[in-house]
């Protein structure tokens, strides 16, 4: 009997490791029933705010080739109305992108090159939705991994899978993928205050590879309509 070549054995071993790694997500999954499993559904929804909030983040973006940029991001989330409003700006305050997503409707209030492409607006608001808005698909599956991590599995609109993983220390991770070997997005949240993460690592795999590191500057509940200015500020007497 012929011995396998070392390269072939390494390939086999590598494949086995990948398979084992992917098996870490294997758990006995149970479809949740809103009538009887509300507690578990609440756990699955714990990464998301339940009431309108405003977040301000410093965003460090890194793209393939090592290019990077740091920006400020403001996002208002209204989960009840399914509304997201997001503004990206330079550290000097110049607005690069201002977009709003209202259910399935996307509107761009302002976008300057190179943020003025329609695909950018759609991809960005999709990312914002993934990060801030609980998945809309009903009846997720639920399971518990060996390390105690709670896994909630949702089906996306375009056939992708969305996993929400709540670790025993309450930090969380969101993954979307077509198959375990075709990842789309990966979000890891840490440094939680209440349920709000101070640090978010966001990895995008399509259409290009990019990394976002979000550091929380402020988070506050929103009540009523925002007003653009405060009394006296228009007179430049701050």
């Amino acid at each position: 009997m012929k011995r396998k070549a070392p390269a072939a054995r390494l390939f086999f071993l590598g494949g086995l490791l990948v398979l084992l790694a992917s098996c870490s997500h294997l758990a006995e999954m149970k479809k949740l029933n809103p009538a009887t499993d509300q507690v578990l559904l609440d756990v699955c929804g714990s990464p998301y705010v339940k009431t309108p909030h405003r977040f301000v983040h410093a965003i460090e973006a890194t793209f393939s080739g090592g290019r990077s940029a740091t920006m400020l991001g403001v996002t208002v989330v209204d989960p009840g109305r399914q509304v997201l409003h997001s503004v990206l700006m330079t550290l000097e305050g110049l607005v690069l992108f201002d977009g709003q997503s209202n259910g399935a409707t996307l509107s761009v209030n302002r976008a300057v090159a190179p943020f003025d492409k329609e695909s950018f607006a759609q991809n960005m608001m999709d990312d914002v939705r993934l990060l801030f808005q609980a998945p809309a698909s009903p009846d997720p599956e639920h399971g518990v991994l060996k390390d105690g991590t709670t896994l909630c599995r949702f089906k996306g609109n375009t056939g992708e899978t969305l996993d929400v993983l709540i670790h025993p220390d309450r930090t969380w991770k969101i993954e979307t993928y077509v198959t375990p070997f075709q990842p789309l997005r990966e979000i890891m949240a840490s440094k939680l205050t209440g349920n709000i993460p101070g640090d978010i690592a966001f990895q995008g795999y399509t259409p290009r590879v990019y990394t976002l590191h979000l550091t929380l500057i402020s988070a506050e509940p929103v009540s009523g309509e925002s007003s653009p200015t405060e009394p006296g500020e228009e007179t430049n007497n701050e």
Partner: protein, 210 residues
């Protein structure tokens, strides 16, 4: 690429702010301003930046320090909410930003764009507003004097509608406010404090980020 465009816009904005700061509160005409600009050799100041957006109920505040040395050396440094340092010195333009890897130089490759900014600085620092290829300057009188800069180019106009500079009536060389208007309800207001003029500034301030 995103970084190239962003850095150009950021630098241009910073340059506008810095030079406007140094030139206000002087003469009554452009000729007076040009003549008076020769008096200022250096500027040191602290600043607070108030970003107003419709999406915000109160402005987003950034703070930092600013240094200028004639003819064209600038340090524009944010300390909060994100540490960031822009250095312009002897024709070189660099930007450092605090991130997950510490304070690192931006990998932008936008040097050609930066050269444009430096050329603008050269003009403005000599009070030659009206000679700029990028901005149209208007001097308004009345109850409150105001310098208004309007972009000449469509590309810049897409970013900034106008810049309003209100000079101090109390202190020569000081300003009341700089307001950069992008659109209705979206503007940036700058307030400078602890302004010191014509004090010696070490060259390293413009050369080293640390």
């Amino acid at each position: 690429m995103i970084t190239r465009h962003n850095v150009k816009k950021q630098l241009l904005t910073a340059a506008i702010l810095l030079i406007c700061f140094g030139l206000v509160g002087w003469g009554e005409t452009w000729e007076d301003i040009r003549r008076d600009s020769s008096d200022i050799v250096s500027i040191k100041a602290e600043f607070s930046q108030y970003k107003h957006l419709k999406i915000l109920t109160k402005p987003l505040v950034s703070q930092g320090r600013f240094y200028f040395q004639k003819p064209d050396s600038i340090r524009w440094e944010y300390s909060t909410p994100v540490k960031s340092i822009l250095l312009m010195h002897k024709g070189s333009v660099k930007r450092y930003t605090q991130g997950s890897r510490g304070l690192v130089e931006d990998a932008g490759g936008a040097l050609s764009s930066m050269q444009v900014v430096v050329q603008e600085i050269g003009l403005w620092s000599q009070g030659r507003f009206t000679e700029s290829d990028h901005f149209q300057a208007e001097l308004t009188g009345g109850k409150e004097r105001k310098f208004i800069l309007t972009p000449r180019e469509k590309a810049f106009a897409a970013m900034i509608a106008r810049i309003e500079i209100i000079p101090s009536t109390q202190q020569k060389g000081a300003i009341k406010s700089v307001k950069i208007v992008e659109s209705e309800g979206n503007y940036t207001l700058l307030k400078f404090t602890n302004v010191k003029m014509n004090e010696k500034i070490a060259e390293s301030v413009f050369r080293d980020a640390s």
